[in-house]
């Protein structure tokens, strides 16, 4: 059992100098070819990087939401860069074009709006049905009271107090067993 890691180490160490050299050359060629694209992407996807760093939301998925639309806005310009030969000049002209940047960042902004507004839309939907919902919930409480007696109310006051403190309703886990 103790010999296996040693064998693996020997294999890692056995990657030859030639192979490393070939890998380096390939990467260098690719870098020469894609550097304009990378520059374009780096500038265009800045809102996504910002979203990823500053995200404090519950699901921590703002980078994906912002990034998706940010990339949607960037894709046509990447295609344009590649059609124009992928040269550095083309890339620089794109990143310095205000219209291009506004379009790309605008798409990212739409992503932000989407990320913020969908949960709010749910709340808004609830608000639209509030009166009916309150009646339903009270009826449900009355039924629970009939089925289980007044002792079923134990804990309700604390739950309301919790809502008042946190400003949002709790997610109750069903007891196991």
């Amino acid at each position: 059992m103790a010999k296996k890691p040693e064998i693996k180490k020997q294999k890692d160490a056995g990657l030859g100098l030639g192979a490393k050299l070939i890998l380096l050359i390939v990467l260098a060629v690719m870098a020469l070819f894609i550097i304009p694209t990378v520059i374009l992407l780096c500038v265009a996807m800045l809102p996504t990087f910002v979203a990823a760093i500053t995200d404090r939301s519950i699901s921590r998925m703002s980078w994906l939401c912002v990034g998706g639309l940010n990339f949607s806005g960037t894709v046509p310009f990447i295609a344009d860069l590649w059609i124009r030969g992928g040269h550095m000049d083309a890339a620089l002209s794109l990143v310095t074009d205000v219209f291009t940047i506004m379009l790309i960042y605008g798409a990212a902004g739409v992503g932000w709006l989407l990320y913020i507004s969908v949960p709010q839309l749910l709340g808004a939907f609830m608000a639209m049905t509030a009166t009916h919902r309150i009646a339903t919930l009270k009826a449900q409480q009355e039924k629970l009271g009939d089925d289980w007696g007044p002792e079923v109310r134990e804990g309700a006051e604390e739950a309301v107090a919790e809502f008042m403190r946190r400003g949002r309703v709790s997610d109750f886990n069903t007891p196991s067993g």
Binding site: L69, M126, A127, I134, V160, F172, G177
Partner: protein
């Protein structure tokens, strides 16, 4: 003096003239409550005509224990079927439904002595048996009876002139009467009791050993030989004091003329020292012609100078101890102030005893005027040291160690103060008593162990402990003293549930059937299997307590039967509200309320228990209730949120919304890539 007039019997509502149907004992012996035989009554039992259904030619009578004193059940077991020339045969015994008291009683069936009682009362006078026939007619049958009784390792302890019968109409065959219907020695006249036993209260005399029977027979023979009892008009105290001062033989015989042929026998049987008292072997040798040396009664050491107490002089420690006991409060002064110690040291020159008495008094820290347990306990210890063979004397208590349980039972029955018993147990008086004894007996270790066990029970204030538990642990055959089971004569655990069934219709249904006595009785008679349930019964939670009560009784029914107890089940069913209400679900409660009456009708307590304490149902109820509470709390939050206009969704919902938004965004980006690719390729 005890008379055979039924003085200790219960109410007199069962008079012979009342019309009651005969009752049957063990499917064979018919006892007729309407045919009372007053001449054969015993102090704690009344006599009725009995008939053997298989042989109605037999002359039988039954003694029905209507009195409140505990009968000697173990002796009934031993003497059943025993036949001896000088013993009225005990044919059968058992408990019967007894209409006169509307309850149950222990009854004992005997062969009926056709010649009646030899002495109807202690002051009766009759024609004595001629001297020349005395040995053959009186002594031999009675010695044969005692031999038979001793062969069963037991003692009679009811040998007295009024408990002798002529078996035949011609009055030629004498026999000893019943000894089972009262506690041992309880109704013995002072003349028939040894000094040690006579010093005890009737309930505290105890069974004693064979010498007690020999003594009683000796005193009885004296009365029978004279045709009367000489000291009948003297008080018990006078007789006892006379015995202490002058010896038993001199007291019992006095100036009377005893047939010459039995003087030696009677002298041997009335020796005060139990070790020197004649045994059956000695009597047998005497009857075979061997003449014994006159007994020299070992005298207690006499003091050179008397001890003056209440204008009377006392020369022996027993006499002084007895006098101090008789007047407890006055006796405290010389004892606690050390005067007795000085007299023991200087008068009797018993320095070791004097030291011991001084030590116990000093250790108590009490003074003569300090009325209370410390002083009384010190006095009891000092008196025990002075006269170790005497009964324990503590306040008004006068009991021999072996009679502790019986005396406690009788005191409880008579509703007397039982605090002295508790004091003795709590202070473990057995240690003092055992240390004071001059000779070792194997019983001493048993007494010590019993006292320690009783101490444990006394510390348990809950049901199943306390003085009630002590009572049932110390007395094997005392009936359950529960007020619910009055007159039900529950002697064994198997009798308990049928008795509760009988009384179920008569008691307040809100009263639980398990009072302190019932639980202590179960704990003592059936401890191994019922203690967990009894612990549950003592729980402060009413649900657990009620279930514990049902569990105990269900267990007893399961193990002992009977299979159906509808009355008791109905009684218990009415008390199950806390259990039913312990279920949260109203539907479950309604379901149980519907099911309980069905099982009540069946009278099956184990099934009732199973229904009410179904573990799966209880868990399901618990889980469902927990869910319901959460649902209610969640609904309350949502209502509060909606009413306050704060429509923020929950964390989960917000998370879900954000995930949806991210998914939409990702999908749009993929569509954008596809669209661009298509636009440039096509």
């Amino acid at each position: 003096m005890a008379q055979e007039d039924g003085s200790d019997k219960g109410s007199d509502k069962g008079s012979g003239s009342a019309k009651f149907d005969p009752v049957i004992l063990r499917d064979r012996y018919q006892i007729d409550p309407a045919q009372h035989i007053p001449d054969l009554d015993m102090p704690n039992a009344r006599a009725f005509v009995a008939t053997d259904k298989r042989n109605n030619q037999r002359n039988l009578y039954a003694l029905v224990c209507e009195g409140h004193l505990p009968p000697r059940i173990n002796l009934m077991r031993k003497l059943r079927g025993v036949t001896s020339p000088g013993l009225i045969p005990l044919i059968e015994w058992g408990t019967v439904d007894w209409p006169p008291i509307e309850g149950r009683c222990v009854s004992v069936v005997y062969e009926r002595p056709m010649g009646g009682r030899v002495m109807k009362s202690m002051d009766a006078v009759f024609q004595p048996v001629p001297d020349q026939q005395f040995i053959k007619t009186i002594v031999k049958p009675l010695i044969a009876a005692l031999t038979e009784i001793q062969s069963h390792s037991t003692v009679h302890r009811a040998i007295r002139p009024t408990n002798l019968y002529w078996i035949d109409k011609e009055q030629t065959r004498i026999a000893l009467g019943d000894c089972t219907t009262s506690p041992p020695g309880y109704h013995q006249p002072m003349i028939c009791e040894t000094v040690e036993s006579g010093m005890a209260a009737p309930e505290g005399r105890g069974a004693g050993y064979y010498p007690e029977d020999m003594y009683a027979l000796g005193a009885t023979l004296v009365a029978i030989s004279m045709g009367r009892c000489a000291l009948v008009h003297e008080s018990d105290d006078t007789i006892l004091t006379h015995k202490i001062n002058n010896g038993s033989y001199a007291t019992v015989v006095g100036e009377e003329r005893v047939p010459l042929g039995i003087i030696e026998l009677v002298r041997g049987m009335l020796v005060d020292d139990p070790d020197q008292r004649w045994t059956l072997e000695a009597i047998d040798m005497w009857m075979n012609g061997r003449r014994m040396n006159p007994m020299q009664t070992k005298q207690d050491k006499r003091s050179q100078r008397p001890f003056m107490f209440r204008n009377t002089e006392y020369f022996t420690r027993r006499a002084l101890a007895h006098a101090l006991t008789r007047d407890w409060e006055a006796g405290a002064t010389p004892l606690m102030e050390g005067k007795v110690e000085i007299w023991l040291r200087r008068g009797l020159e018993l320095h070791e005893l004097a030291d011991s008495v001084a030590n116990v008094i000093r250790a108590s820290g009490a003074r003569a005027k300090d009325v209370g347990m410390a002083r009384d306990m010190a006095m009891a210890s000092a008196l025990t040291l002075m006269d170790p063979a005497a009964p324990i004397r503590y306040g008004r208590l006068r009991i021999h160690m072996e009679a502790f349980g019986t005396a406690l039972a009788i005191s409880l029955t008579k509703k007397q103060d039982i605090r002295p018993y508790v004091d003795l147990v709590q202070k473990d008086f057995s240690k003092t008593w055992i240390a004071a004894q001059e000779s070792f007996s194997t019983d001493h270790g048993r007494y010590g162990a019993e006292f320690r066990e009783m101490q444990t029970y006394l510390t348990q204030a809950t049901k199943g402990g306390g003085v009630e538990r002590c009572l049932y642990e110390m007395t094997e055959y005392v009936a359950c003293r529960s007020s619910l089971l009055k007159d039900q004569c529950v002697l064994e655990i198997a009798d308990l549930l049928p008795a509760l069934e009988r009384v179920s219709g008569k008691v307040d249904p809100k009263t639980p059937p398990t009072d302190r006595h019932v639980v202590a009785f179960i704990a003592a008679r059936y401890a191994k299997d019922t203690m967990p349930q009894i612990h549950a019964m003592n729980d402060t939670d009413p649900r657990k307590a009620t279930l514990g009560m049902l569990a105990v009784l269900a267990l007893v029914q399961w193990k002992m039967g009977p299979p159906s107890l509808p009355g008791l089940a109905s009684w218990l069913g009415g008390l199950m509200t806390p259990v039913i209400e312990s279920y949260h679900g109203r539907d479950r409660r309604r379901q149980l309320e519907k099911e309980v009456p069905k099982l009540v009708r069946k009278g099956n307590l184990p099934e009732l228990f199973k229904l009410l304490d179904n573990a799966e149902e209880r868990q399901a109820d618990f889980d469902d209730f927990a869910v319901a509470r959460l649902q209610y709390a969640q609904a309350a939050q949502q209502v509060a949120a909606l009413e306050s206009g704060n429509f923020r969704v929950s964390e989960n919902s917000e998370k879900l919304g954000q995930q949806v938004a991210a998914s939409i965004s990702a999908a749009v980006s993929i569509l954008a890539v596809i669209f661009v690719l298509l636009a440039h390729l096509v």
